[in-house]
């Protein structure tokens, strides 16, 4: 990539006004100067807008008469790269992996700026799906809280100097034979592993320890016991007709949620004649995203998992002719479940999110007895991303403490924040001779290290990945590094004494290892094709091995099983937004409402209503846990009694301004037990310790109040009568009368359909929408005042018993009603209907009466309460606590979408910019539009393919078929607003319950 490549931006819609006092925050001048130059963009366009606003006032006319327009410049390339067309977006295939989540992606680059991440449909793992964290990762690129240059003891230095010093240290340690440790997260990049191997060979005194923030050590060890290999098998949830999950949040955070969501919904969709649906049973304490989607959810305490698994084992073993063991049975009657499982032999799946080796071993044996291996579980394509064995880390910390470690190199880990005994780690690292960290973002661990060698962000770097064995993908830079950073791999190469560039290393590695498998003629073609596709998946044999597990050591496990009173148990979990805390400094993620609790900008102690009543706790009260942790309480229907669920990933201390002091860090509550870190705690002491905490919750009412908002039916009812649960739609249709002639839509009539059966509530659409449409972040205080700005929201309702409710979800965006109540009331006609059935909103015409919002029955319109975006003409009134208007962060804005000013209404536009773009493409190519060509951001991000968009005028389109489906209905259709958004009823597979 040549330097000139990013030289200039032909045109920018946003204006980058230089801000005062930001000199120190500005990234490395050289790199950014090439990206954009303040001089090149008009520096005071605000004045013009200001005058425009006051156009008709007397004084300004006089001013206007005496002032000039600001000069705007247009700066072309010196040498224009052939493949770049200014004003048109390019897409580069790449890979998102942060040590936890994986997605094969396309990066949308517009005039040199990556502005959006989209799923790569070619990937056989993610199939074009993404999740919220993947979508939001684009914003981290422009995070100000990154390490901007190499530093020694906090002082800026050059790469030469830091290399020299580190190599000296390494060599002296090597000479003395001292222990040096390389601490990394699980590495899925084969070429990185290659580079690290070289590095380890060059310094044989270095030991490689893998530390995963959220450990899967129990599973690795159990599989080692079962199959002799520390692996995490992959799953085919789509092949499972019965899924039994023990607290594995596989739709939200567990292992590979995007892939699992794709698989999960595949056999829950009732379209194209599909009549079958999987059945999902979830055992868990806290209401997880997965649990809230289950057909049946059983509340258990985390510690009860073992006894339940034991009982289940015995029940199945008894029927399948395997050895049974004597043990105490659990309180829950599992007979029917066991029967069901046996009925679905080979087509069922039992998974557990536990990090207890024994639990995982029991799960393995159950799956084995059910013959699921080879059918729904594949040990030949294991996941590579979790490799850490907790014992290793424990030993390491102990050694550090004892002063046995003379050097540490850390890559992609932040144990000072997320290691449970972080105090020990901190004391330990102080005793280590030299410590090197290769962080991307400002973090707690790097702050304590002698040497900071900042790594590129993945959008700036070359990389490759083998997330699942045999399925490779590539990661290519979409922008030149913004700061003075260096790929970690290159650091390793330098320390090994190699001058190679890492991209060359990847090429070499691929030439050696992947190219031969491809059958392509010529490496160049293969390489270009792989880069283009972003993936390389050599043909795999479809037959999966069906290993038999020797049932050894089970008696030992069963002897441990006993039911005792464990008191109050605390369950620690990752939530869908900030995950393990690595991306906590991302304002989009912080403002993402939790799919279950709808709380933003906080973690909290979720307790069951009964528990709260007994202790007279209310939402917003504070409780102390083990006298140490003070957390706000949330009464969460569906929470198991006597358990408290708390999300990890909050309470960062060293991060950017966004994550700082948001929530409480509960990693210290994780305890090491039975060799592995356990994410629950028994016998905790809980006391009320105050009240008055203000949650920023986007939805406070849980009940549908008996209104036909989300319509549902059981599978049985549906099979008997396809309109079941949706009888009202027919009724409304019958009475669909109008006094006057309806308007015609001569060309297109855009419509959207949401399958409530597919939508799991993962909220990827929310972030995708925010990224695509420049939706502002407003901060906790504003969300608490119900001023959130998301154009799409996911409504969540409970029904049934408050202690054990069923959960339903519904994404709601602008319904684009053909008889829109909002349009009638706008005094200035700023919102009206387009000839393509879109409820248009002209921001620049809006005067902000909010009448439209009042009159919207769906309440999908959003008002710019303050100047969130710095687009306002009045100065010094910006409300941007999360720094979204910093010059750097504004680079993420989509130049095709107006940045809305203070005082205007905005709302979902069906991604009109995408519609217009694709229409134009069709016109330029002299052809008709294809169905499915236009995909709004939400639909594109959806890993469940729950959202379908298309032309209702085309009878062959997918959307037309959805609209004529018996399950289709419109929200509040009895109001005769004629929405262009349809919903397909939710069907629950509760039929096989007896």
């Amino acid at each position: 990539m040549e330097k000139k490549y990013w030289k200039s931006l032909e045109e920018l819609k946003i204006d980058y006004r230089p801000q005062e006092n930001q000199g120190e925050n500005l990234p490395d001048k050289n790199a950014l100067a090439e990206l954009f130059d303040d001089k090149t963009i008009s520096s005071n366009s605000s004045r013009r807008d200001f005058l425009k606003l006051f156009g008709f006032t007397v004084t300004s006319a006089a001013l206007a008469a005496s002032c000039e327009m600001p000069v705007r410049k247009a700066i072309p390339y010196v040498i224009q790269p052939e493949q770049i067309t200014p004003g048109k977006a390019q897409y580069y295939a790449s890979t998102f992996f942060d040590g936890h989540d994986y997605s094969s992606i396309l990066v949308k680059v517009r005039d040199g700026r990556p502005i959006k991440i989209e799923g790569n449909t070619l990937s056989s793992i993610t199939h074009g799906g993404t999740n919220a964290r993947t979508q939001a990762s684009i914003l981290n690129l422009y995070d100000d809280a990154r390490y901007k240059h190499p530093a020694i003891d906090g002082k800026e230095t050059s790469w030469e100097e830091i290399n020299g010093k580190i190599i000296n240290n390494l060599n002296s340690a090597k000479g003395k034979g001292e222990k040096v440790v390389l601490l990394t997260s699980g590495i899925i990049s084969p070429s990185t592993r290659w580079v690290i191997n070289d590095f380890l060979q060059a310094y044989p005194n270095i030991r490689h320890v893998v530390y995963d923030t959220i450990s899967a050590s129990g599973m690795l060890l159990a599989n080692e016991k079962s199959f002799g290999e520390k692996i995490i098998p992959s799953y085919s949830i789509d092949k499972a007709e019965l899924i039994v999950s023990f607290a594995a949040d596989f739709l939200g955070t567990w292992l590979s949620p995007v892939e699992f969501t794709k698989q999960y919904v595949k056999n829950r969709k009732l379209e194209n004649g599909q009549k079958k649906m999987s059945r999902h049973i979830q055992f868990e304490a806290g209401m997880s995203l997965t649990g809230s989607n289950a057909d049946k959810r059983i509340q258990i305490k985390p510690s009860e998992e073992k006894i339940i698994l034991g009982t289940l084992y015995n029940l199945i073993a008894a029927q399948t002719g395997n050895t049974t063991f004597n043990s105490e049975p659990c309180k829950i009657n599992l007979t029917s479940l066991a029967k069901e499982l046996i009925l679905h032999k080979g087509k069922s799946l039992v998974v557990s999110g536990s990090n207890d080796t024994e639990n995982q071993y029991l799960v393995n044996t159950i799956n084995s007895m059910l013959g699921n291996y080879g059918n729904t579980i594949h040990i030949d394509q294991p996941f590579n991303h979790k490799q850490g064995i907790d014992k290793d880390m424990e030993i390491l910390v102990k050694e550090m403490h004892e002063g046995k470690i003379s050097g540490m190199i850390m890559y992609n880990v932040n144990p000072v924040y997320d290691y449970p005994q972080s105090e020990l780690f901190i004391q330990g690292i102080k005793k280590v001779g030299f410590s090197v960290s290769m962080p991307v973002f400002t973090e707690e661990t790097a702050e304590l290290c002698n040497y900071i060698c900042p790594d590129h962000y993945f959008l700036e770097a070359w990389n490759d990945a083998e997330f699942k064995k045999g399925q490779f993908s590539l990661c290519q830079p979409a922008i030149r590094p913004i700061y003075n950073t260096r790929a970690a791999q290159e650091s390793f190469l330098r320390w090994t004494g190699k001058p190679d560039a890492y991209d060359e290393v990847i090429k070499t590695y691929w030439e050696k290892n992947m190219y031969p498998k491809s059958g392509a003629t010529g490496f160049y073609d293969f390489w270009v094709q792989s880069l283009h596709d972003g993936i390389f998946e050599p043909d795999r044999s479809s037959a999966s091995p069906q290993p038999k597990i020797e049932l050894t050591g089970l008696s030992g496990i069963f002897s441990n099983i006993q039911s005792i009173d464990t008191g109050i148990e605390i369950q620690l979990y990752e939530n869908v937004s900030v995950g393990n805390g690595k991306y906590a400094n991302n304002p989009w993620l912080q403002e993402l409402p939790d799919p279950v609790s709808k709380i933003t900008w906080d973690n909290y102690a979720a307790v069951s209503p009964k528990f709260a009543e007994e202790r007279s706790l209310e939402t917003g009260d504070l409780i102390s846990i083990n006298k140490e942790f003070k957390l706000p309480v949330l009464i969460q229907p569906g929470q198991a009694y006597n358990t408290i669920s708390i999300a990890l990933g909050y309470g960062r201390t060293t991060s950017g301004i966004v994550a700082k002091d948001v929530g409480i860090n509960v990693y210290p509550l994780v305890r090491t037990d039975n060799k592995n870190r356990q994410y629950y705690l028994t016998h905790s002491e809980v006391k009320k310790a105050g009240s008055g905490h203000q949650f920023a919750q986007t939805q406070s009412h849980f009940s549908m109040e008996g209104r036909p908002i989300i319509r549902e039916a059981s599978l049985e009812e549906y099979l008997n009568n396809p309109v079941s649960g949706n009888e009202m739609h027919e009724e409304v249709d019958k009475h669909n009368q109008t006094l006057y002639k309806e308007h015609q839509f001569p060309g297109h009539h855009w419509g959207m359909s949401v399958d409530l059966n597919s939508c799991v509530g993962c909220s990827a659409c929310l972030i995708a929408c925010s990224a695509e449409n420049n939706v502002p972040v407003v901060g906790k205080k504003e969300v608490a005042r119900n001023h959130e700005m998301h154009w799409i929201r996911i409504d969540r309702y409970y029904n049934g018993d408050v202690e054990d409710p069923a959960v339903v979800r519904q994404p709601v965006m602008c319904q684009h009603c053909d008889n829109a109540p909002c349009e009638n009331v706008c005094p200035v006609a700023a919102t009206n209907h387009s000839d393509e059935g879109i409820n248009q909103m002209a921001y620049n015409r809006c005067i902000g009466t909010r009448y439209c919002n009042n009159n919207c029955p769906y309440k999908v319109r959003r008002f710019n309460w303050f100047d969130y975006t710095m687009a306002d003409s009045i100065k010094n009134n910006t409300r941007d606590p999360e720094g979204m208007t910093l010059d750097l962060k504004r680079l993420v804005l989509n130049p095709d979408v107006t940045v809305r000013a203070k005082g205007v209404i905005e709302k979902c536009s069906f991604c009109i910019q995408r519609i217009q773009d694709k229409k134009l493409t069709a016109k330029l190519e002299n052809r008709k539009l294809q169905d499915g060509e236009i995909i709004p951001a939400c639909a594109q991000a959806c890993p469940a393919d729950a959202i379908v968009f298309g032309d209702l005028n085309d009878p062959e389109s997918k959307i037309s078929k959805h609209f004529s489906d018996s399950r289709n209905y419109h929200l509040l259709e009895e109001l005769h607003t004629l929405p262009s958004v349809g919903y397909l009823t939710k069907i629950r597979n509760t039929s096989s319950e007896s």
């Binding site: 327009m69 410049k73 390339y77 067309t85 095709d896 005028n953």
Partner: protein
């Protein structure tokens, strides 16, 4: 274009220049003393204030360069001018030559390579000292001042004055009654109000509009020469207009396709073309000034209008082919856009995309309708342009 060779005019202009210089030096006196003359940064520059003054005089022709020889400044302007001067301004030259050696400047002045320069500079015979003085003047010019800007007439004063007069008229009409004839009051009030209203309305509408905007560009690029005389196709340079949102300002390498050979222009000689070469060699982009600006909330795509709509460039940009300095021909107001959308026919039959409009398509095929206007297929929808 207007090179003033008239000797009478010339001596007159000397007087004018002298007056301007002396005036400006008195005006800038206050600033001068605030900045110490012996600036340590410039102390190595051995040229003193006297020789600078001398160089300046030489440049403005106050020291004769020979009989009937126009001064440098008569072609190389230092003041603002409304007319296009193909010759590089003094600031332009200062920018290019202050960094070069005296010898180079002498070479260019005395033995120019270009045809045009040779013609114009014939007869000038500067000695080495004079060249050095002029060089010093250039260095000083380059460091000291920004190029002159178009003077701004301040309406604010008139505006306030009128308000005061109207107020006085009102007071006198009812209270003081100094003037007997009430018609006087009425005329003053009426005329004043009309003028104020007119200003307010006209100026308010004009806020954000740039009709007839014709800024001076960093390079005196003539569309008349390129597109008119030489007949270059618009799309040769603006080659992405048919497929991208922007028409694209050509990158320097596009210029170089021709200018690798064409090194001297008809009007400006070598000086302007050299700027491209410099930019290209130094890998520095040319910072053109954007003429056609739309507000941020307007989405305009050239691809839609030129690529799909098959509009001719001139329909919006005017006869660029006849413009030496491009100016904005239309006001680019929303009303102007709508007027066109309401009257323009769609490429309905030609483009297969429009088959989506089944009814219209059938009507056109059967001859019930002969054409379709943009407005009929949603050309006046808000979200055609605003999103």
């Amino acid at each position: 274009m207007i090179i003033r060779h008239n000797p009478v005019f010339h001596s007159f202009s000397r007087v004018i220049f002298f007056t301007i210089i002396s005036l400006s030096s008195t005006l800038t006196f206050a600033e001068d003393i605030s900045e110490p003359l012996g600036n340590p940064d410039h102390s190595e520059n051995h040229l003193n204030a006297f020789s600078l003054k001398k160089g300046e005089r030489l440049f403005y022709g106050l020291i004769s360069l020979g009989e009937n020889m126009p001064s440098c400044a008569s072609c190389h302007y230092t003041a603002y001018t409304d007319t296009l001067n193909w010759n590089p301004s003094a600031y332009d030259i200062a920018g290019s030559y202050s960094s070069k050696s005296i010898e180079e400047l002498r070479m260019v002045l005395m033995e120019p390579g270009g045809k045009k320069m040779t013609e114009v500079h014939a007869g000038y015979n500067l000695n080495d000292e004079q060249v050095e003085l002029i060089h010093a003047f250039f260095i000083n010019l380059n460091e000291s001042q920004a190029p002159p800007k178009k003077p701004v007439i301040n309406n604010l004063f008139i505006f306030i004055l009128l308000h005061i007069i109207i107020l006085l008229a009102v007071i006198d009409l009812f209270f003081t009654k100094k003037i007997k004839f009430k018609a006087v009051h009425l005329v003053v009030i009426l005329a004043g109000t009309i003028w104020i209203t007119k200003t307010v309305v006209v100026e308010s509408i004009a806020v954000g509009r740039q009709k007839n905007y014709a800024p001076l560009q960093p390079i005196k690029f003539s569309h008349k020469v390129h597109a008119g005389t030489n007949g270059t196709d618009c799309f040769y340079c603006h080659n992405i207009a048919e497929r991208s949102k922007t028409a694209g300002i050509p990158s320097a390498n596009v210029c170089m396709n021709c200018h690798i050979i064409v090194r001297e222009g008809t009007n400006s000689g070598k000086f302007e073309i050299n700027k491209i070469l410099t930019a290209y060699d130094n890998n520095m982009p040319i910072e053109w000034i954007k003429i056609h600006n739309l507000p941020d909330h307007v989405f305009f795509s050239h691809a839609q209008h030129v690529g799909a709509g098959k509009l001719d460039c001139a329909e919006c940009h005017g006869t660029i082919k006849e413009m030496d300095v491009v100016h904005q021909v239309n006001d680019l107001s929303m009303g102007w856009c709508l007027d066109c959308h309401r009257t323009r026919k769609v490429q309905f039959v030609e483009n297969e995309y429009y088959e989506t409009f089944k009814d219209y398509h059938a009507q056109i095929v059967s001859g019930q309708m002969d054409s379709l206007l943009v407005a009929q297929i949603g050309g006046t929808n808000c979200m055609k342009c605003h999103y």
